[in-house]
Amino acid sequence: MRDLTLAMRHRSDVLTTVFFFIIVVSLFPLGVGPEAQLLKEMAAGVVWVAALLASMLSLTRLFADDYHDGTLEQLLLVPQPLSLIVLGKVLAHWIISGLPLVLMSPLLGLQFGLEGDALIMLMLTLLLGTPVLSLVGSIGAALTLGLRGGGVLVSLLVLPLYIPVLIFGAGAVAANAAGMGAEGHLSLMGAILLLALVLAPWASAAALRISVE
């Protein structure tokens, strides 16, 4: 909860992520030209890639502030399991950086000319996918804590692990558009989310212990 209040006080942080997301998405029509059909086909991919980048942008802040003012060392000492605390922080990170993206996505999809059904699908995949991004990203953030050039390193470590989410997330929207039904993709994403929910907090807790000692 403390993270949430802090984040609310630094409202600009949240807004930066959201605006970054919007700007990246808006760059694509400028880059490839405004043909409606082409944009419609790429919409899901573009929104997904932008969400990936936006959520990664805020990753470095996940543990950095606590690390610098020493709160993290206190958190390591409390009797509650560290993975639970990590889970809480990741949840806060998701509410700050993931949820706004999910809420913004229909609007951006609309700009790309997606129809109602595809919009709901896009939102649904992002809803399933962005928590995974925060969870997996927390491992990278914990590993690179306090390193030189940590930000670039995080992207090198985390982006390869994001790829499956991207494939299934964008794939679900494409499959839905092709009329094949997206249940398969959605169930796989749900499976990834559950797996990440179980394993990632544990792995980041281990990484935090390595980084802090």
Partner: protein, 249 residues
């Protein structure tokens, strides 16, 4: 287990590794010569793919090794985390560059093969993409390790990363079966009661010889690299100093 941990100490492993390097290097060169001769002159021309298929004799071993080395590396990393043995993490970091090289080789030869067969250097196929992710994982592993100054912390952090990334290996291996993609299925399948293959016997043998050549090459290179890492990290210890003085006099 009686003498397994004896060689977990860098000091006792160093001379052993030196002997093994020579052994495996010689074996690898011999097998490589035989394997290359067989793949160019002995193995028959494929009825469907013509002479171009011969690149498979390096492509398939490289792809196998790229996955295999990653698993071995993750195992060493796990061993290093469990027993806190210095040597295990040194082995993991010694394996990473070779693994990355084989991954690159597999992608490169795959591209050379794909141009005449598929008409494209690169397709966004499940297996190609996941192999590319594997390359990124190797690069990330090495980047993380070199970014951390303290070698102990570097070893543990990169070890954790290796363990997280190991999830990708089964995905690559089964991608051809899970997704119906452009990349052809495995030519060798281990089925109940034996091994089933779509190749002639001589091709299988050539492939196996090439695989073992790559394997022994990996062992030789990784061991000689681990020797350098040992010297670098243990440069303060007395046995290294004694050895170096002995070499000088």
């Amino acid at each position: 287990m009686f003498n397994l941990f004896k060689f977990a100490s860098p000091a006792s492993f160093y001379p052993l590794a030196g002997k093994l390097v020579t052994l495996f290097a010689i074996a690898s060169v011999i097998l490589l010569v035989i394997g290359l001769y067989m793949s160019f002159f002995v193995a028959p021309t494929d009825y469907k793919q013509g002479e171009g298929y011969r690149i498979m004799f390096i492509h398939v071993p490289a792809a196998w090794m790229s996955m295999f080395i990653y698993v071995v590396m993750a195992c060493w990393a796990a061993a290093g985390m469990i027993w806190h043995t210095r040597l295990s993490s040194m082995m993991a970091s010694a394996l990473a560059p070779t693994g990355a090289m084989f991954t690159f080789l597999a992608l490169w030869t795959g591209a050379l093969w794909g141009k005449p067969m598929w008409g494209a250097w690169w397709v966004w196929d499940a297996r190609l993409t996941s192999e590319l992710i594997l390359l990124f994982l190797y690069v990330g592993f090495m980047a993380l390790e070199s970014a951390i100054d303290d070698p102990r912390r570097a070893a543990r952090a990169s070890g954790l990363l290796a363990l997280v990334g190991v999830i990708n290996v089964p995905i690559i291996y089964y991608s051809v079966q899970w997704w119906n993609t452009l990349h052809q299925g495995s030519s060798i399948k281990v089925v109940k009661g034996g091994v089933e293959t779509s190749m002639t016997e001589i091709m299988v043998w050539t492939l196996l010889i090439m695989t073992f050549a790559c394997w022994f090459y990996t062992i030789a290179v990784a061991l000689s690299r681990v020797r350098s890492i040992i010297l670098e990290r243990e440069s303060d210890s007395s046995w290294v100093k004694e050895m170096l003085q002995g070499a000088k006099s």
